[in-house]
């Protein structure tokens, strides 16, 4: 056991004082958690995605609980980028100064929408440290398939978006073919990859024969996703050189440590923020204790250090 371990990491140009981040859509816009703890304890926080125009999202019910997790079909309800920027107040502008890095997620239904939002988000610089592209939304111009679901689409997105901003660009990846698609994003200049997004799932009430959500399917999250996510981070980290932020079912420091060992530079806490809102600082402390127990002086010695 060592006394001190350096926990600061560089996630694709985002200088984080520690590896703990939050998953978009599970942390609101940060202020919701200020009653629980000082959110600037975290290395970064990722804001819920904003789109070019307000999205109402899907009808209720948008969420159901499952064994070891939950499933949602929120449909990325958000106020739209103009409203978000207009209402970006001193709280948001102060977050970077308090020492946490702000990652702004954006969502879109087409590459053109993506371009429009990224151009607008430039206005938030220097109040944000990076933009995260959510490429899992359906592409409404191309039959509803995920926007960034193939290597060719990844190339098209990055060629369109990369020239628009000097901010680091992270890509929030769908849980499909992450190594190949990750390489395509890397080749066109992505600074880092965040994986995984929620896993498509379905839950049926067998008495009514209806979906338990207002939509037939939703996105699985929570502990039941954790080991699928660790596997995908490991596969992707073996294929790319840019840093990865691991996401999926993290409840404890050991869960976060698995992502680090699998090759993640940072780790996002997701659904656990919702049911255990004090958990993120605890997970940071547990991760730090684990790093000490491994006898290293810097967390970097443990990134990708799985032996297999």
């Amino acid at each position: 056991m060592v006394d001190q371990v350096k926990m600061a990491v560089n996630l694709g140009g985002i200088q984080m004082k520690n590896p703990i981040n939050t998953a978009a859509g599970t942390f609101g816009y940060g202020w919701q958690f200020e009653g629980f703890y000082d959110v600037s304890l975290l290395g970064a926080i990722t804001m819920k995605g904003v789109a070019r125009v307000p999205w109402e999202g899907n009808p209720a019910p948008r969420m159901c609980e499952l064994n070891g997790g939950m499933m949602n079909s929120v449909g990325l309800a958000n106020p739209g980028v103009d409203d978000f920027i207009a209402h970006t107040d001193d709280y948001m502008k102060d977050l970077e100064g308090r020492g946490t890095r702000v990652i702004m997620q954006m969502a879109a239904h087409s590459v053109q929408e993506m371009i429009d939002v990224v151009e607008r988000l430039e206005e938030l610089n220097p109040h944000i440290s990076a933009i995260e592209l959510n490429v899992s939304c359906p592409n409404l111009e191309k039959g509803g398939k995920p926007l960034g679901g193939t290597p060719d689409q990844a190339t098209e997105i990055m060629k369109a978006v990369r020239p628009l901003t000097k901010l680091p660009i992270l890509v929030k990846m769908a849980p499909v073919n992450v190594a190949e698609i990750g390489k395509a994003f890397e080749a066109e200049g992505a600074d880092g990859l965040t994986l995984i997004n929620s896993i498509p799932g379905m839950s049926i009430n067998v008495h009514t024969r209806k979906s338990r959500l207002s939509k037939p399917t939703g996105g699985l999250s929570g502990p039941l996703c954790h080991n699928a996510a660790v596997r995908m981070v490991w596969e992707c980290a073996s294929a790319v050189s840019i840093p990865i932020c691991g996401v999926g079912g993290v409840e404890t420091g050991e869960d976060a440590a698995e992502f680090i060992l699998a090759g993640a530079t940072a780790v996002s806490v997701g659904s656990a923020n919702l049911y255990d809102p004090m958990c993120a600082p605890r997970i940071l402390n547990e991760l730090t204790d684990w790093a000490k127990s491994q006898g290293v002086s810097d967390i970097h010695e443990l990134i990708g250090a799985v032996e297999c």
Binding site: A60, M63, L274
Partner: protein, 264 residues
């Protein structure tokens, strides 16, 4: 955009937990520091221990938040695995809750005569409202409904808290008037007996009550129930459809809404 959420985690200890009707329990919890910041109509999100497979908290209304003794009273129905485990918690058992959640009833202190309308476990925030109306000096009646007499609860509580009349309906006629709560509301509402309606219960019941109130041009507030994860404005899963279009969160804008705000 508010600058800061005010929901926090509070530890609680069970003082008592007893069955009061079929599938209906009353728990009294010692929750140091919470009750002073709760108002009738708000709710709490309870961590029920004992099963790691169930990760979410259970959002529950309260019937009493006594700041003098730090006692919170929940009247809850056992509808699933989580509430069943809650019903098995014994005096001395401990866990935590997040609170205060949502916005309270906006009780009209200058009402000449109000009516409280509860269906089933919707009685819980109605009891809290009754206590507050009496504090405000507002005269009120109540209408409470349940499927059967065995599931009915709250008549004595509401009378003790100052209700002048408590009208009872049951779906099967095993107690009070056979039928739904609306049967007891239609005539007095049309005669202008009440100038404010506050209701909580199954959504079809609240829809009927809301439509009656709106048709008679009487102010009406409803307390909506939704599946939700966080109950503090982060997850966006507890959406209620609005008459003007779009949605509002039950946990932040609600659970209490003006009946006319909702797209029924």
């Amino acid at each position: 955009m508010p600058l800061r959420g005010n929901v926090q985690v509070f530890d609680f200890t069970v003082l008592s937990n007893t069955q009061v009707a079929q599938n209906l329990y009353r728990a009294q919890l010692k929750v140091p520091g919470l009750c002073k910041s709760l108002a009738p109509g708000q709710f709490v999100n309870v961590n029920v221990p004992g099963d790691k497979r169930h990760i979410l908290r259970i959002p529950l209304s309260f019937s009493l938040a006594d700041k003098a003794t730090d006692t919170l009273e929940l009247i809850y129905a056992t509808v699933g695995e989580g509430t069943r485990r809650l019903s098995q918690m014994k005096p001395g058992d401990a866990s935590d809750m997040t609170a205060p959640c949502g916005r309270p009833w906006r009780l009209n202190a200058s009402s000449k005569r109000s009516v409280l309308v509860a269906g089933g476990v919707g009685i819980t925030p109605i009891i809290a409202a009754a206590r507050k109306l009496t504090e405000l000096g507002v005269e009120f009646d109540a209408v409470i409904g349940a499927q059967t007499a065995e599931k009915l609860f709250g008549e004595e509580d509401l009378l003790a808290l100052g209700a002048q009349n408590v009208y009872v309906t049951t779906d099967d006629g095993s107690k009070g008037t056979k039928g739904f709560v609306t049967a007891a509301l239609e005539e007095p509402l049309s005669q202008g007996v009440w100038d404010a309606v506050y209701t909580c219960g199954p959504e079809p019941m609240m829809r009927s009550v809301a439509k009656l109130a709106i048709a008679n041009n009487v102010a009406c507030q409803v307390s909506m129930e939704r599946m939700m994860s966080c109950a503090f404005g982060a997850c966006n899963t507890c959406n209620v459809p609005l008459a003007k279009g779009g949605y509002a969160s039950a946990c932040m804008v609600g659970p209490v809404f003006e009946a006319k705000e909702i797209a029924w």
